[in-house]
């Protein structure tokens, strides 16, 4: 065309290659941590009795590595590669690109050091402590500036659907991360979230669910929209579908968080919204799948011959499967069966290994030959990788589905006489242990596939001449066409207005967020006096911090759902007020062990003492790890003053005296527990962590004020405080 000009653009390939290599390296770490965690559930001594590798610390390490290190770097590689080409420009600044790269890798290293050491907020996928949270925000904003800068300098008036998804990703992840990380530091590596109990639960799952949506779905859909048509050389099936499913996905996804909290103390209206929006999400998600798969029409033979297409298509198929299962799991009655069980673990791995994993590998197999100007070393190795990986995912998924349904049915079973059929929790644990072995085997296969991939990639790279850091291409820049001879549709116009487009996207995600979160922010104010509760004593709070830092929530819930099977097993359903001083909430999402919301006073101190030291001494078939180091490690009582003062700032009604004398208050209660244990023949010093943890466990479910007691009781000073006497109550 005559009205076209041409320009030379230098695409930055080096940054893409670096992100790809980071993806490959961290993938190995994420997979190995996952395998170790899987083996530990089948055979607890696999933690080698090292506190750094116990399940509670390892699982966050695994999930963070998989989401932020593996999938994150894969997204960045794909975004940096495709964005430059779709916008016909280099990124805004090389410097920003490299700050982004090294910043992100340092964050990962910081996570890999702090999580095993027990610095954790115990909020799922947001475990990292506050300095790292700040670093994440900063690096993410740098990425955003780099990306939006490139958008601003683009040489293509309209933006392609992949870019829409990238925009939604960058804006929404920033919002989610910042809101869910609002926290007040108490020391260099510890903080309390500003939200408590039900608020924290809602904000956390708004974040947690949408981390899946906007970190593991929208960016990958963007990648799909670029790499599938590229790999098969076909046009996208339907532009209209892109529009409809993009906007509906972005608008609806954000509402679905409460489906993680069905039957809990979260108010019914929020649960209902979470469920119905999850159902509505099914079609928008499948819109993406249809557009991906139908783009292949007429090229299905490539599935047999081209390993890249195999990876990409299988990934999209798993996406379809997982996004069908998601709404299914959000139906209240299904959730009742599946929640807290291994089914959910199977569900996420179909998504993570199938959709994110295979799409990332497919993309890398497409990119590596382009970057190094050389075919992949071995096509058959790509095929081996594919089949090993696929069998791994299927074995993993099926074993966890079977385990989850087994658990769900056993937990729920109530016979005709009104009693639980399997009242002994451990029975339901022992039953699924063989399936844990099968799952670990599935994981091993997936890793074997990964090893084949690494060998193949290394051989490809070693045989290559030299990496081309900059790719220089000549692109045509279309001149503006006069509007008269070219009517643009409304959405087409919008695609040319990036600012407006971004604002509308942001509004779309804000609507659901505000409607769901806003009303809950004041919810604790309306707790009736009769249902008010005592805050934790200083010692109990110290114990709670240990519970949080050890990651007990990875196996234990603290939320008895409003259903007879839960109530019969664990006691009265949990109420909103019971967790109103919980910074952070610890409702949990998984019951590998029993619920602990009402564990207080169920057992004597000595039982907990022995159980934490060696669970099998109390429950023969337990798979819970030993926590013997709690008998050695000390609690820093003095720091409790600072902790309580921060908590008071956040709204926990401690008195001046309680804060000022927090350490003495704690020691007094510790002395009672020590004396009780001594009575039973156990000598232990009062400053040991186990004492604080026992105090915390004994307080769970025991904090209700009886109706006659007024809330003002709490105002009394420690010592003179009737509530402390009562809580200490082991005299």
């Amino acid at each position: 065309m005559s009205d076209n000009q041409t320009v030379q653009v230098r695409y930055d390939n080096k940054i893409v290659v670096y992100f790809m290599m980071a993806t490959l390296i961290w993938a190995g770490a994420a997979f190995l941590f996952g395998l170790l965690a899987a083996i530990q559930l089948a055979w607890w001594p696999a933690n080698m009795n090292l506190e750094w590798f116990t399940f509670g610390r390892l699982r966050p390490l695994h999930t963070n590595a998989a989401i932020f290190a593996f999938a994150g770097n894969a997204v960045f590689a794909g975004v940096y590669h495709s964005t430059q080409r779709l916008l016909k420009t280099r990124m805004l600044s090389d410097k920003l690109s490299w700050i982004h790269f090294w910043g992100w890798q340092s964050i990962i290293v910081a996570a890999a050091v702090t999580l095993p050491l027990g610095f954790s907020q115990s909020k799922e996928y947001a475990e990292l402590e506050w300095p790292i949270d700040i670093a994440i925000a900063v690096v993410w904003i740098i990425f955003g500036i780099n990306f939006f800068g490139a958008l601003y300098r683009r040489r293509e008036k309209h933006i392609y659907v992949a870019i829409w998804f990238y925009i939604a990703t960058i804006l929404t992840v920033a919002l989610l991360h910042v809101v869910n990380s609002l926290e007040v530091p108490v020391s260099f590596l510890q903080s309390y979230p500003v939200f408590a109990g039900v608020q924290d639960a809602l904000v956390q799952w708004w974040y947690g669910h949408n981390a899946v949506a906007f970190f593991l779905t929208t960016p990958f859909l963007g990648l799909m929209y670029y790499y599938i048509p590229k790999a098969v050389n076909k046009p996208i099936y339907s532009y209209r579908l892109s529009i409809i499913h993009f906007w509906s996905l972005v608008f609806i996804y954000i509402w679905a968080g409460p489906h993680h909290l069905l039957y809990t103390a979260l108010p019914d209206w929020a649960q209902t919204l979470g469920m119905v929006f999850s159902l509505m999400l099914w079609a928008p998600s499948w819109g993406g799948m249809i557009n991906g798969l139908l783009t292949l029409r007429g090229s299905w033979h490539l599935l047999r011959t081209d390993p890249i297409v195999k990876f990409l298509v299988t990934a999209v198929t798993f996406y379809g499967m997982a996004t069908f299962e998601g709404p299914l799991l959000s139906i209240k009655s299904v959730s009742l069966l599946a929640h807290y069980s291994d089914w959910v673990i199977g569900h996420v791995h179909a998504g993570a290994l199938g959709w994110n994993g295979f799409l990332s590998f497919g993309m890398m197999y497409y990119l590596i030959p382009k970057m190094w100007g050389r075919e992949m070393h071995s096509k058959s190795m790509m095929n081996y990788h594919f089949w090993l990986g696929l069998s791994g995912i299927l074995i993993y998924y099926i074993s966890m589905l079977a385990s989850g349904i087994t658990q769900g049915l056993m937990w729920k079973a109530v016979d005709g006489t009104g009693y639980l059929v399997y009242p002994d929790f451990v029975e339901t644990v022992v039953k699924v242990v063989p399936l844990y072995w099968v799952r670990a085997f599935g994981g091993l296969l997936y890793i074997a596939g990964y090893v084949v991939a690494v060998v193949n990639i290394v051989k490809t790279i070693c045989g290559a001449e030299k990496l081309v850091n900059d790719e220089v291409v000549t692109v045509a820049v279309k001149a503006e066409k006069p509007a008269a001879d070219h009517e643009e549709g409304a959405h087409r116009k919008l695609e040319g207005m990036v600012g407006t487009f971004s604002v509308l996207t942001f509004i779309a995600v804000l609507i659901g967020s505000v409607i769901e979160i806003w009303p809950t922010l004041s919810i604790h104010k309306y707790v009736p006096q009769s249902q008010a509760i005592h805050p934790y004593t200083a010692l109990e709070q110290a114990g709670r911090d240990i519970y949080v830092s050890e990651g007990c929530y990875t196996c234990h819930s603290q939320m008895i759902r409003k259903h007879p099977s839960d109530v019969l097993r664990f006691g009265d359903a949990s109420t909103i007020s019971e967790s109103m001083y919980d910074h952070p909430f610890q409702w949990g999402s998984k019951r590998t062990g029993p619920d602990l919301a009402r564990i207080g006073k169920k057992y004597p101190n000595l039982w907990h003492f022995r159980h934490m030291d060696d669970p099998r001494s109390m429950v023969e078939k337990s798979i819970m790890p030993r926590y013997s180091w709690l008998l050695e490690k000390k609690v820093d009582y003095y720091s409790l003053r600072k902790k309580l003062s921060v908590l008071r700032m956040l709204g926990v009604p401690y008195t001046d005296n309680q804060v000022a004398e927090a350490d003495r208050w704690a020691e007094a209660q510790a002395d009672q527990i020590v004396a009780d244990l001594k009575n039973e023949g156990v000598e232990i010093k009062r400053d040991r962590q186990i004492i604080a943890l026992i105090a915390y466990l004994q307080s769970l479910g025991q904090k209700n004020l009886t109706n006659s007691e007024a809330l003002s009781n709490i105002e009394l000073a420690p010592g003179a405080n009737s509530s402390t006497d009562k809580e200490g109550g082991e005299e």
Binding site: R85, L86, K88, Y160, Y226, P229, K230, P235, I236, Y237, S238, Y239, R240, L241, S242, S248, Y263, D268, W269, Q271, T272, M275, V276, F277, L279, M280, W282, A283, W286, I290, L294, G298, P327, V414, G416, T417, G418, Y419, L420, P423, D424, K562, H563, P564, V567, L568, R569, A573, K601, K602, Y603, P604, N605, L606, W607, R610, M618, V619, E620, G729
Partner: protein
């Protein structure tokens, strides 16, 4: 690509990627509308009008049903005169004891976390009624769990019989006596 599709090919092109403008699949549209309509009705029923039961109401209703079942079954059990012999009852109790009580009272009843059940000393009394009461309600402040929600009436019966059968064994290495001596 068919001619038909060529018509649908849009004149956009991004880095070589083109787009067709196929219609939305009808079944897809219907699942979408269906979910929205269902969601709306569900929301009206449970949230807006409040016609649907709340979770609390559901729980109260279901628990009442379970209470009813428990009553009926215990009536049936006591009405039909115990069909099992005292020996069978003790044997059944032994199983239940091993599964639920041994971790605290020890396999042989000698006591560890909980008191020795084989000696003549009792904290809460030695008669059937007192023992049953302790087993059913527990002693919360002292760490004896309540079992009434977990064990069926007959199971409680049986484990109490078993405890009584243990009593007097005075096992070796038993825990030191607690409570009052009962002759």
């Amino acid at each position: 690509m068919t001619n038909d599709e060529n018509d649908k090919l849009l004149d956009h092109e991004y880095d070589g990627i083109q787009e067709l403008d196929n219609n939305l699949p009808l079944w897809w549209l219907w699942t979408f509308f269906g979910a929205i309509i269902f969601g709306f009705i569900y929301w009206i029923h449970f949230s807006l009008t409040g016609d649907g039961p709340s979770l609390d109401e559901e729980l109260t209703r279901d628990m009442a049903k379970i209470e009813q079942q428990r009553k009926q079954s215990s009536q049936a059990a006591s009405g039909g005169a115990s069909s099992i012999s005292p020996d069978q009852l003790v044997a059944m109790g032994e199983k239940i004891y091993k599964a639920n009580c041994a971790s605290c009272h020890k396999e042989d009843g000698g006591g560890s976390i909980g008191p020795n059940l084989t000696d003549a000393y009792w904290i809460h009394g030695a008669d059937v009624g007192a023992i049953k009461q302790v087993v059913m309600e527990g002693v919360l402040d002292k760490g004896m769990p309540p079992w009434k929600a977990i064990l069926r009436p007959q199971e409680v019966e049986s484990v109490v019989s078993y405890v009584i059968s243990l009593n007097g064994d005075n096992v070796k290495d038993g825990k030191a006596p607690q409570g009052e001596k009962v002759e």
